[in-house]
């Protein structure tokens, strides 16, 4: 009984991590065809803002939201000044965002040095069926699901969402219909950056705070985006579930090394079998 519960808990835990790490990257890649190598640094912005606001006395939730907002603003600024020139040029955007990432990481090290003491994981633990589990990590699972639901509402039920989806499908047509495409791009990049910042803020209490904190998320985020495809609503959730099962199973049976390698091998297989990721598979099924 404990084994099953423990296993389900692990799958849910990895699922939450993958969704939260990948959501921002998926939106940016899906909308603008850009590989954002600075994704890890937006996560770090969120983590640092959250930690420092908490140290300054703000409640943790406020700190996390603030982290998301600051990361989002950062994203908008970078988009307006630099990234806009690289739409649908994934390689040039890769180099540009890599340059940004170098500057941000080293800049953070120089400014903040060894970093502030961490926040500490809230909510303690709960004992269940003979084992004990961190409550906060279950909270994160709930947050991940809520985030997906929130994104669904935003993209499906708001005007911004309609405009954004139109721009994603056919930017020229959307522009000719009066959609403020430039502003949509800026807002979407900002949204992607804000989600990355939120992920950083959410996980900061559970990890070491350092300028390189983002690097712990990057591989998982990248793998999930590739497997999920361009649509964050249709592709990311099933991809996250599938990869979570793979990683949790591999780790449970053979250890962490095989968990990591399992993810990377899985992505090769997915690319081979489902070239457009789960998005392609789901949309083809619907059609």
């Amino acid at each position: 009984m404990l084994q099953t519960i423990s296993y389900l808990y692990q799958v849910a835990d990895v699922f939450a991590f993958l969704v939260l790490a990948a959501a921002g990257l998926a939106i940016i890649f899906g909308m603008m065809g850009i590989i954002n190598m600075a994704h890890g640094e937006f996560i770090a912005v969120g983590a640092y803002v959250t930690t420092y606001s908490y140290q300054a006395g703000a409640p943790l939730i406020v700190g996390m939201l603030l982290g998301a907002v600051v990361a989002g603003l950062f994203g908008v600024v970078i988009e307006r000044t630099i990234v806009r020139r690289f739409y649908h040029r994934p390689i040039d955007s890769l180099v540009a965002t890599w340059g940004i990432s170098l500057m941000m990481t080293q800049g953070a090290l120089l400014l903040f040095g060894s970093g502030a003491p961490g926040v500490g994981t809230p909510f303690g633990s709960v004992a269940f069926a003979g084992g004990s589990f961190s409550v906060y990590r279950l909270v994160l699972v709930v947050v991940a699901v809520l985030m997906l639901a929130g994104l669904y509402l935003v993209f499906m039920k708001t005007r911004f969402g309609v405009h954004a989806r139109a721009t994603m499908q056919n930017a020229a047509m959307a522009r000719s219909l009066g959609v403020p495409v430039d502003r949509i791009y800026a807002a979407t990049f900002g949204l992607g950056a804000a989600l990355a910042g939120l992920a950083g803020g959410l996980y900061a209490p559970t990890m070491t705070l350092s300028p390189m904190i983002g690097s712990s998320f990057v591989i998982e985020a990248f793998v999930t985006v590739v497997a999920g495809g361009a649509d964050v609503l249709v592709g990311t959730p099933p991809a996250a579930i599938a990869l979570a099962v793979i990683k949790a199973t591999a780790t449970a049976f053979w250890g962490q090394v095989y968990g990591v390698m399992g993810l990377l091998v899985a992505v090769c297989l997915v690319v081979r079998i489902l070239p457009e990721g789960f998005t392609g598979w789901m949309t083809r099924r619907r059609a």
Binding site: Q10, G113, G118, G120, S132, T208, T251, G259, V260
Partner: protein, 410 residues
């Protein structure tokens, strides 16, 4: 004719005397290669500062054998290729007299082939898995036999004989886990679980579950790097509150300053230096450090080792009457008298292995992250290499040995 011959001889004598005079005003060039940016810079920047402090102090006190020290440092950015590149630069272009370089073992192994072809001494000032038997190298960091032989018997007596090990899955972690297993079993205990974690992993859900199910008496945590250190936050959050032992926490990565209490509660570590150590030398050293670097979060063992190593070099050169030649310095090492009073306590270079004996300190961390010094041992020797057959006074294999790769009998 004869007076001119005498003049010729006098002139010749003058010229042979001149080079010696020129040496006294030539600076001794110290090469330093430590990460100032990149993955582990947070823990290696104290090495740069420790070296700078030592150089400044020695220069203010007149230098070494009347010569001032000149510090030439480059930032290898946690890239082995850059370690190689800049070692060559230091040797060929800057013409250093001594090299202090490398934190990770990989960077050390990248540097060794290059420095081994020269007559330049190489100080590796980091704690590591041990085993390098190389005449060019002097290892001044802590070694597994020094750290585990002191810590493990105490932990087993205090907490019990069932031990679970989690270790970073690379050379240092694997060899440390091997040492742990050996010492636990030698002391009548049992390793109930051993998990290897790849570098860079930061999520420990499954590992925590495994530990809870195995129900050990205490945990040996040999996790390395910022990502893996997240374990210390996630374990108590999941309700895993169990005594922990380590050879690299607190003193190296100052986790007690970077995690919110009580994450590091019940952690016990044995190393050759913690900033919390108090003695006349240690306190004076800490004062001088903070006077020069007031923003320092924590003076870690890497920083103290780097500082002490410069003084160790000074001692060797003075023992060799001002010579900086490797052969002369090694002659002095072979006497077994190369000792200094470092901030940690007295350290001496062991002639057989050219590693350093340490004053070992053991600390415990409580729920408020206060660090208490439990015990200390004088002069814990780096005995393992000598025991397995490395004797640098006899021959120089320039190799690295491990418990499963021993030297061939000579």
């Amino acid at each position: 004719m004869r007076p001119s011959v005498r003049m010729l001889l006098a002139t010749a004598a003058m010229f042979t005397a001149l080079p010696a005079a020129a040496d006294d005003s030539d600076p001794i060039k110290i090469g330093l290669l430590e990460d100032q940016s990149g993955e582990i810079a947070i823990t290696t920047l104290p090495k740069v500062r420790g070296t700078q402090l030592a150089v400044e102090e020695i220069n203010a006190a007149g230098g070494i054998a009347g010569r001032q020290l000149e510090l030439i440092a480059y930032d290898p950015q946690f890239d082995n290729a850059k370690f190689q590149e800049f070692t060559r630069r230091l040797i060929d272009s800057d013409e250093i007299d001594v090299l202090f370089a490398g934190a990770t073992s990989a960077s050390r192994e990248a540097v060794r082939p290059i420095i081994d072809r020269t007559d330049i001494p190489y100080f590796y000032t980091n704690q590591y898995e041990g085993g390098v038997c190389d005449g060019n190298m002097i290892g001044t960091g802590g070694l597994p036999e020094q750290q585990f032989s002191t810590l493990i018997p105490w932990m087993m007596e205090k907490y019990g004989k069932r031990v679970y090990t989690i270790a970073a899955d690379y050379n240092f972690g694997q060899i440390s886990a091997e040492w742990t297993r050996k010492l636990v079993e030698d002391n009548g205990g049992e390793i109930v679980g051993e998990e290897m974690i790849p570098l860079g992993v930061s999520q420990f859900g499954q590992t925590i579950q495994n530990i809870q199910q195995a129900k050990p008496d205490w945990l040996m945590t040999l996790v390395v790097g910022n990502s893996q250190a997240s374990f210390y936050e996630q374990a108590p959050a999941a309700g895993l509150k169990i005594p922990m032992g380590s050879s690299i926490t607190i003193g190296l990565g100052f986790e007690h300053k970077r995690f919110k209490p009580p994450a590091m509660e019940n952690m016990h570590v044995a190393m050759n230096w913690f900033e919390e150590v108090s003695s006349p030398e240690a306190d004076a050293f800490k004062e001088r450090w903070r006077a020069k670097f007031p923003e320092e979060t924590y003076i870690n063992d890497m920083g103290q080792n780097a500082y002490a190593a410069v003084y160790l070099y000074k001692k060797l050169v003075e023992m060799a009457d001002g010579s900086t030649e490797l052969a002369d310095l090694r002659e002095q090492i072979a006497t077994g008298q190369a000792c200094i009073d470092a901030p940690e306590g007295q350290i001496c270079i062991d002639p057989k292995s050219q590693h350093v004996s340490h004053r070992m300190w053991q600390v415990s961390v409580d729920a408020e992250h206060n660090v208490t010094v439990e015990r200390s041992w004088d002069k814990v020797e780096p005995y393992w290499l000598g025991e397995v057959g490395c004797d640098l006074t006899q021959y120089d294999p320039k190799d690295q040995y491990t418990p499963s790769y021993l030297p061939e009998p000579q």
